[in-house]
Subunit: 337 residues, 2 copies
């Protein structure tokens, strides 16, 4: 197992990316190729304790795609950028997966242009696990594409089901369509057209419309929606969780000595909970639908997030997610003929 890591992408790149990769070598025993400014990476690596130095390589690149750049244009012109070179390593069979915390648009575009889409998939989709009371709900698409057609949402549902089954071990994942009401007749045009397609698809276990409140409840294992809606929901969740924590802190701070003492006492159980809610615990979301394992990490990824994202890449590859998706799509195509 060898994973290409875009060392230059992310708010805390290359420092935290290199540190996370170094940690992952010891934790998962996989090999890592750090792609980026060789000199900088070498200096950073020298400060890290690496379980096995032979397991980390560096591939030097001279360009970086910045967050504000237009993804398609940047990927086409910056041929020696870290994300393009890292993705190419997967294409050439030199690596099993690529991971980036840089521009999501650039990572998605590089994947589409270099790795190409799986046969039968019109648009790749980002599958983000959202923690629920007792498990996770996989939300997709959470930002790869907007203005999706109904068939794109169906493809998301099929790929999300496979991921949920083989990576999270959920038998017959319950698939929901994100909508504004339970009834089949509710929704916008996209949802109304998608509902019957999901209901009639034999590759998935469709259990109806999921309303916004059903996502955190955990009544669905896979929830599909347009990437615009998914991205808004995901970022909203992030903001809301952060705001609630801040409000609780404010309340305790202004609540006097007893409240502060009480807070100390409940810190241990709450820490465990915070760990479950922490996005960096998942570290990365797979981009499903391209010929290769591509893991998208949050721009604000720290060392732990990058290490965990490398874990996600390991699981993706070890569980043959790619092959299973291709097999299912081929079966669907056979059935149609």
């Amino acid at each position: 197992m060898k994973i290409a890591v875009d060392a230059m992408g992310g708010d805390f790149a290359p420092e935290k990316i290199v540190a996370g990769a170094a940690r992952a070598v010891g934790r998962f025993g996989c090999e890592i190729v750090l792609v980026g400014d060789e000199e900088k990476i070498k200096t950073l690596l020298a400060k890290e304790k690496v379980a096995d130095n032979k397991k980390i390589e560096i591939v030097n690149t001279t360009q970086v795609i910045e967050m504000h750049e237009h993804p398609a244009e940047a990927v086409r012109t910056k041929k020696d950028s870290s994300i393009v070179v890292a993705t190419r390593l997967v294409k050439e069979g030199k690596c099993d997966a690529v991971l980036s915390a840089g521009s999501t648009g650039a990572a998605v575009t590089a994947a589409q242009l270099i790795l190409r889409r799986i046969k039968g998939i019109a648009r790749p989709t980002i599958a983000t696990p959202i923690p629920t009371r007792e498990g996770v709900t996989l939300l997709l698409d959470s930002g790869a594409n907007v203005d999706s057609k109904p068939e794109h949402l169906v493809q998301s549902a099929v790929m999300g089901s496979i991921y949920s089954e083989y990576v999270f071990g959920i038998e017959k994942p319950r698939v929901g369509l994100l909508n504004i009401g339970e009834e089949e007749t509710k929704g916008n045009e996209q949802a109304l057209l998608t509902y019957p397609l999901l209901r009639d698809n034999p590759s998935i276990h469709f259990t109806g419309n999921a309303e916004g409140r059903d996502i955190p409840k955990g009544e669905f294992d896979v929830v599909v929606c347009d990437g615009f809606v998914g991205n808004v929901v995901l970022k909203f969740a992030e903001g809301l969780a952060k705001t609630i924590v801040e409000m609780v802190k404010d309340a305790i701070k202004n609540g006097g000595l007893l409240a502060r003492l009480g807070a100390l006492l409940i810190i241990p159980p709450l820490k465990k909970l915070a760990k479950r809610l922490d996005v960096s615990e998942y570290g990365g979301a797979p981009l499903l639908g391209v010929n290769g394992c591509v893991i998208i990490s949050h721009g604000s990824s720290n060392e732990k997030a990058i290490c965990n994202a490398i874990g996600v890449a390991n699981e993706f590859v070890n569980n043959n997610v790619l092959q299973r998706i291709s097999d299912t799509l081929a079966k669907e195509e056979d059935a149609e003929q």
Copy 2:
């Protein structure tokens, strides 16, 4: 001030609706017309302490529009339903506002058909206040319409600004367009087309794209989006807040005696916070864009929520929101000519 209350709409109707209305008479000094099954309402009212019995009237109706019914069809055929009769009381000038916790679709349709839209407004919009760290953000449209055109979002922005200014007292409310990135070039077709229209509109103070995480942060006073997205976000917030509270309770329960003692100590400050986050504190969201004050309450509204929603109706009417919206739209039209 006289407010028509749909006594038959909502999960806890007519009990909690009648109780909330009875409470509001004492609190706001306004008159209430309870619209619904007269006999049931009378029995319930007999159990309530009303500050001034002369301030509550009953208008008997024989029909109810249920949640699963098709709104337009039901409003057209059930002429003696509580929501239709209550809305008509506003049309006829007998009441200043109408309030319902029943089917949102039915309330919106009744408002459109009976009260008609304000001149210059193509689609009415629901404006829901979302609590932020220090104030509220008004999210609209939160569910009146889906597949909105850019001009509908602009109308939402104009009406939301006026509401924010005159009801929440915010000078020059900061208006954001809900989107998946900060840059003008980000988004789906709807967002891309809406951005320049908002930027160039002289009636509002547009401050750019708002990402999901910006809503709870409180960096915008008014956030506009399609009703599909707004409804998903709103219900997601509701579900997430509830799930986090349950998870905290689980964590404390499983955290042993010290954690439980700690929880007792922080209850008082957290209660204050919970009150701020509680949706029933706002009670209702105004439907903006029709010729009348229409307040939409959550289906699960309790007595307090209904009472507070009547407070929202009072503020709407006292602050001349309707007149101010009409004036602004007329000015815009003049400028265009």
